[in-house]
Each structure stands twice: as structure tokens, then as C-alpha cells.
Amino acid sequence: MRDFLGRFRYQVAVFVAVLGPGFITANVDNDPGGIYTYSAAGARFGYLPLWTLVPITLLLIIVQEMCSRMGAVTGKGLSDLIREEFGLRITFVMMALLVLVNLANVMSEFAGVASSLGLFGISKYLTVPLSAIAVWFLVVRGNYQSVEKIFLFACVLYFSYIISGFLVKPDWKQAAIRSVEPQLMLDPGYIYMLIGMVGTTIAPWMQFYLQSAVVEKGVSVKDYAASRIEVIVGCIVTDVVAFFIIVACAGAIWSVAPKDIQEASEAASALKPFGKYAFFLFSAGLFNAAIFSACILPLSTAYSVCEGLGFESGVNKRLREAPIFYFLYTLLIVVGAGLVLIPKFPLVQMILFSQVLNGMLLPLVLIFMILLINKRDLMGEWINPRWLNLASWVSVVMIIGLSLAYLGIQLRGMH
């Protein structure tokens, strides 16, 4: 009995010890862009899009599981592996793209900060610089363990969406039915919305961040079983949050009058009739998501680039020891936040442009991942089994196809 208890305690300890990377990565996925997409889906189509969450979760799990497995088995980050296996030139091109993409992403996160706090009537000229400084200090002055704890706490704050979902008192019966019953319509808007949901879910930076975080956490092959569960649970939690965002908007907006919304903050405002708490929680959730992603993205980018190109990196290093790391990190925050503050800056076009780059980079990253995870000298017995390889290729081809389609529609919309 003591043995059993001992083992149980050990298993729990292992799970707690690996907790972090999967949860954080999956949750950052619900950044302001993601929240807008889900809100728009709920506002326009009500409960209809809910069924897509199950396949989206599966795709997310397949992709993320590969990353965390590579991290645990090789003990190296994704950009490390790409560098070692495919050389410096390819790595350089990928890293250059990644910096560009993430710069635009950081910008849209700060735009999210501006619009969410704008709901409370605070000027962006106050909120954006202050949050940029806060983000910079949080990571530079903290160490990884404490920063990760703050990030995990930020994950918990996503529960505000679940509560606001309840406060709206949506039609739960409909929601339940639509979650399991696929609905296809040949309506261009509907198809566009479905593609958009997948497009915002899987981004290139996530793979780099997740794998590095797994490595940094020191997850070993022995703990991998626990780490895999963590990744899967993280993905599920993320899409549960997405579920409640859609449901809240379906209940608050669609059931009154279906309409197109332009911004996530518009969805928050629409929740006002359901009490100030519903509104407050939704907007606070939006702010949390924006600032959380604004912390992770610059950090993850600086890490990936420095790992791949062989510069010293890490928040535990001092400025003098890792100058390029801190330079990149600071640059992304300063430029990302600065652009939001320029009056009449073409923000929407920039975000669109970042999605174009995202769409170009993602296929590369995913294909490299599958190639790497099938190398026996790297992965040993942990290479993809055949069925998983099939599933991965199918998922990757689907994700690439959908992102490209998303991209195409976006670009056509530009004219």
C-alpha cells in the first residue's frame, strides 16, 4: 500500500513537474486574433460552427504532440534541430521569416491591449507603452521558473470566458447538439469562417516555443508520458475556452440579430445587456490574452533565433552575456508596440500581411517537423509509428491547404 501511494505521489509529482509548456502554448493560441475569429463565428452563425472544435483540437494535438516529443527525446529546440540537420542557410531564412511574422503578430497583440482597455475608456497612448514596459521587465527581471508561474496563472484567467459564457444564458441544448453534428453550408461567408478558425489555431511560432519550453523544463523521455497528457489536456482546455467564446457570442449577438463584427471588443460591448460582469469578464479576458501573447511571442522569437544561429540566449543570462538575445527581444516589443501608436498606421493591412507570411512559413515548419521526427538517429524508438505518420501528413496537408485557402481569401478581400 505504501508502495502504491509512493508511486501515485511520484506520478502526480511528475505531472506537476512537466506542467507548463503545453498549457501555455495552447492558451496563447487564443490570442486577440483567435478570440476575434471565434467571436465573429458565434455572432454571425450562432451555434453552427461549434462542431469544428473537435477536429481542430485533434489537429492541434497531433502537431503539438510531435513538438513536445522531439523536445523530450532530443533535448534540443526545434530551431537547433533544423540547424543541425538542414544547415545554416535554411535556418537563417526561416528565422528571418519568423522574426518578420512575429513582429507583425506582436503588433497585433499590442493592438489587442489597446482595444481591450479602450473598452474601459483608457487611452492607448497610456496603455500600450505601459504594458510594453511591463512585459519587458517581467521577462528580463524574472527567471524562467517565476515567469512560467505567471504564465500559468494567465492561463487560469481564460476561465473568465467560461463564466461570461454562462452569464449570457445561451441555449445549451442547441450548443450541445451543434457540437457533435457537423454542419456544412455552401455559403462563402460560412466556409471562410471555418477556414479562418483553423488558420488562427496553428501558427509557426507555437512549434518553436513549445519545443523550447519542453527542453527548458528538462522533460526527459522518462517523463514523456506525463508531458504528452499535459499537451493533450492543454489543447482541450484551449478549445473549451473557444467553445465558450462562440457560445457567449451566439447567445448575446446571434440570438438577438446575427451580424458581422469587426473587432473582438465589439463582441465584448454586445455583452453589456447581460450585466456588467459578463462585459467585464469578456473584456478582461481579451486584455489578458493580449498581454499574455505579447509576453510570449517576443520571448519565443528571440529564443528560436538565438538557438538556431548559435547566439547565447536565455532569460537567466545577463545582458552582457546574451546581447543579441536581449536586442531582438527588446526590438520586437519596442517596434511592435510603437507601430500601434502611430496615428493612421495601416494596422489592418499589416495584420493581413503577417498572415500572409504566417501562411508561407507554416508549411515549411510543419514539413521540417515531420522530416525530423522520422529520423531514427535523432528519435531512436520514438520516431512516428506508421499510423501516426499518416495522420500527421494528412493533418499537415489539411492545415497547409486551409491556411493557403485562408490566405487566398484574405488577399482577394484586400482588393
Binding site: 533535448g75 543541425e84 544547415g87 545554416l88 542557410r89 537563417f92 528538462g218 526527459s220 544561429l309 548559435g310
Partner: protein, 415 residues
């Protein structure tokens, strides 16, 4: 000394010409045979037709940048993978190595070689391993523009290189290490804290290879300095039980107990069984205590004397415990039942006469804790009374061990 130098990026794709000046092919890689010579490029591998050919160093007449490599002997053998070769492009470029003088892990971008001319032939000697921006520029433009242009382009950038003698190549496979004459002896001479920083950055396979290879004493010191207890445990678990036991034997009992307590009970029991029984008693006793109590924090490296002893007796006792002297700052007096009766700051011995009773030199207030005292209370006592050493007593008041300020600092830092 070499009169000219050549970068590996320049050597790659250099044409190789036979006696009549006809082109045989281009250089694809170059290899050292470390067992024969530690820095001479022994083979050039050239690719012309289907198979690669291998050029021995003594078949080369001249090597000229811009012209190519002229041979003095065209009897070339086809290349087949030789286990005794360290191939630069395959085994060194883009891989991580340890910079022994700079005490860090770096990634190789390029290699600088010297062309040594002895009248008969030109030979290449590996001089430096290049890291940093300058060599990245060379890699990026290699093959895209003439070498002389690249040299001009990179010139303004300050070089960043490691002398080949101080570059330690990493190889997890022990057999291959032997064949390539890779040792980790240079690492043994590093400060254990530096070595610990390095192994913390390495992937698990390389990390384990280092601990497997270096002598047990250096390994024990470095292992004690590794900050993350989880990593300490995973290192020990990965080693052969016998080697793990050798390392643990070299550690002080309290550190050994700390590390072993992180392992699964089965594994730590195996290691203890393998150790010399004389060393294990104390470790086993320490293992009984909960980690976050005084018992779990304490070590058993103290000097105690009978309460009637004189300064002379104390000096004799110190001579008998020379291995403890480095960290010692307090002596303890016990009664005939081994119960703690007083603490004596070591420095007081210097100003006392030889015949003086130790009792009279004792600190005015006796501060002690019991083995099951909570960690927080212990750190509080250190702060309140400005302690360097705190005695720990068991239920019967017998002196069981001491907690020293460095233990407390480590605990506070981990928070």
C-alpha cells in the same frame, strides 16, 4: 606557423585538378583522423561522378584560393565511410561544441585552417573554430559570390573564434569517442560550477556522456553544482549503477542524500547497495528525513568534543579532521550522553591559551533546532541570529548534524 589561411567554407566546392590540370571534381568535405594527427586535414573528399573519391593529404601538391587544389598523385581511392574520420562538414559544422577557455557551449559556423607549405606540398591544419556573426556571413554567401568578395564583406566584422585545442567536440557514442580520440579530460580541470553550467545547457545524451567519462571526483563536484535537483536525478539515473555509486561516494553525505532522495526509491536503493558500506550509513540516515525539515537540510560534517575538553584537545581534534577544515567555523561540545551542550566559534580558539577549557569560550546563547523543524523556521533563525552554522539535535537532544549558511542560501535562491 601557417603563412596563409583558408576557411572551410572556401575549401568546399574548390575544384580539384589532376597532374595535367584537368578537373576531377569538387571538394565535398574534409576529414581529420584524430588518432593519427589532432589537427591535420588527412583526407579531402571530392565528388565528381557518382561516388566520392578520397584524397590523402600527401597526394596534394598545392592549395590556392581562386585556383583550386592540384594533386601530385592521382591514384585516388573511392571514399567509404571510415569510422576513424572526423568529417568537418558532417560532424563539426552546425554542431555544438564546448569552448573550454570561454566555458560555454557554442555552435560551429565555420572552421579556419592554415595552409602549411613545406616545399613539397601544402597541408591544411585546423586552427580555429569560428562562431559569431562574421562566420555566419561567410556561410550565407558561400558559393553565391567569389571568395575574395566574401572576405572583403566580412572584414569589418570582429572575428569570434576558438582555438582548436580548446574546442571540445561532443560525441555521445562511447565507441565512436574512442575511435575519434575524443576525451573530456580538459573538462575535469574546469571549476565544477562552470562545468555544471555547461552540462545544464547540453542535451541529455551529451550530458550523460560527460558524466560517464570524467573521473568520479570531478563528476561528483560538478553534479553537486547542478542547480536543478530534477536534472541531477536524471543524470544519475542515466548512468550505470556502478558509476553512479562511485560518483555518489565522492559527494558529501548530505548532498548525496539530497540527490538520492530525488530518485525513485528502487534506483536509489540500487546505488546505495553498490556503494562502500562505510559511506552509506550516514547517507541512509539522512535519507530518512523529510526534505523540507532541518534533518533533510543538515549534513554530518561537524567536529564535536566532550564538554570538559581543552583548547589543546580541540586542536588535536581538528588535526584529525583535516578534510573538514575548509568549511568549518564552529565546534560543538557534547556531554557524556552526546547531548549538545554548547557551540564554540572557531576563531575564539586563536585568542585562548592551550590549557583553557572550551566550555569558557562557548557562545552565550545556545541556538539549536530539532531534526523535524520546518525549513522556514531554520532560515528565519539564520537571519535573526546571523548564524553561519546551526546545530541540529534529535529527539534525545543528541547532536545529529549541522546546517550551514550555504545550504540556506541555496534554498532561498531556489524559491
Amino acid at each position: 606557423m601557417a603563412d596563409r589561411f583558408l576557411f572551410f567554407t572556401e575549401l568546399l566546392a574548390m575544384p580539384v585538378l589532376d597532374l595535367k590540370g584537368r578537373r576531377l571534381g569538387r571538394v565535398r568535405d574534409a576529414a581529420l583522423v584524430p588518432l593519427v594527427h589532432s589537427s591535420r586535414i588527412d583526407r579531402l573528399l571530392i565528388g565528381g561522378g557518382e561516388a566520392w573519391l578520397s584524397v590523402r593529404y600527401d597526394q596534394v601538391r598545392s592549395i590556392t584560393l581562386g585556383k583550386g587544389i592540384s594533386l601530385s598523385d592521382e591514384q585516388l581511392t573511392p571514399y567509404h565511410d571510415d569510422e576513424y574520420m572526423l568529417r568537418i562538414a558532417r560532424d563539426l559544422l552546425d554542431q555544438q561544441i564546448i569552448d573550454v577557455t570561454g566555458r560555454k557551449v557554442v555552435r560551429v559556423n565555420d572552421v579556419t585552417m592554415g595552409i602549411v607549405t613545406d616545399g613539397i606540398r601544402d597541408t591544411l591544419r585546423l586552427l580555429e573554430v569560428d562562431i559569431g556573426v562574421r562566420s555566419i556571413v561567410r556561410r550565407l554567401f558561400q558559393g553565391a559570390m567569389p571568395p575574395t568578395w566574401i572576405r572583403r564583406l566580412q572584414d569589418p566584422i570582429p572575428p569570434n573564434s576558438i582555438r582548436w585545442e580548446f574546442a571540445n567536440v561532443l560525441e555521445p557514442d562511447p565507441l565512436r569517442r574512442l575511435r575519434l580520440n575524443i576525451t573530456y579530460q580538459k573538462l575535469e580541470e574546469m571549476h565544477p560550477a562552470d562545468l555544471a553550467d555547461i552540462v545544464e545547457e547540453l542535451p541529455p545524451a551529451e550530458r550523460e556522456a560527460i558524466f560517464e567519462t570524467i573521473d568520479s571526483e570531478a563528476a561528483a563536484e560538478a553534479l553537486s553544482e547542478v542547480e536543478d535537483p530534477k536534472m541531477q536525478a536524471s543524470i544519475l539515473e542515466s548512468l550505470e549503477t556502478e558509476k553512479a555509486a562511485d560518483i555518489v561516494e565522492e559527494m558529501s553525505p548530505d548532498e548525496a542524500a539530497d540527490v538520492l532522495s530525488e530518485l525513485e526509491e528502487e534506483t536509489s536503493e540500487e546505488i546505495l547497495d553498490e556503494m562502500d558500506s562505510a559511506d552509506t550509513t550516514e547517507v541512509r540516515e539522512l535519507l530518512e528525513f523529510e526534505e523540507d525539515t532541518a534533518g533533510g537540510m543538515m549534513n554530518t560534517e561537524f567536529v564535536s568534543l566532550h564538554e570538559n575538553a581543552s583548547v589543546m584537545d580541540a586542536l588535536a581534534a581538528l588535526r584529525g579532521n583535516e578534510d573538514l577544515l575548509d568549511g568549518l567555523n564552529t565546534l560543538f561540545l557534547v556531554d557524556s550522553e552526546e547531548r549538545l551542550s554548547a557551540s564554540i566559534p572557531l576563531a575564539r580558539l586563536f585568542v585562548a591559551s592551550g590549557a583553557a577549557k572550551l566550555k569558557d569560550l562557548a557562545s552565550e546563547t545556545r541556538i539549536e533546532v530539532s531534526v523535524d523543524e520546518k525549513q522556514d523556521r531554520v532560515t528565519e533563525l539564520f537571519d535573526k541570529y546571523n548564524l553561519l552554522t546551526l546545530p541540529v539535535v534529535d529527539e534525545e537532544g543528541k547532536l545529529a548534524g549541522v546546517i550551514t549558511a550555504d545550504d540556506v542560501i541555496s534554498i532561498l535562491r531556489q524559491r
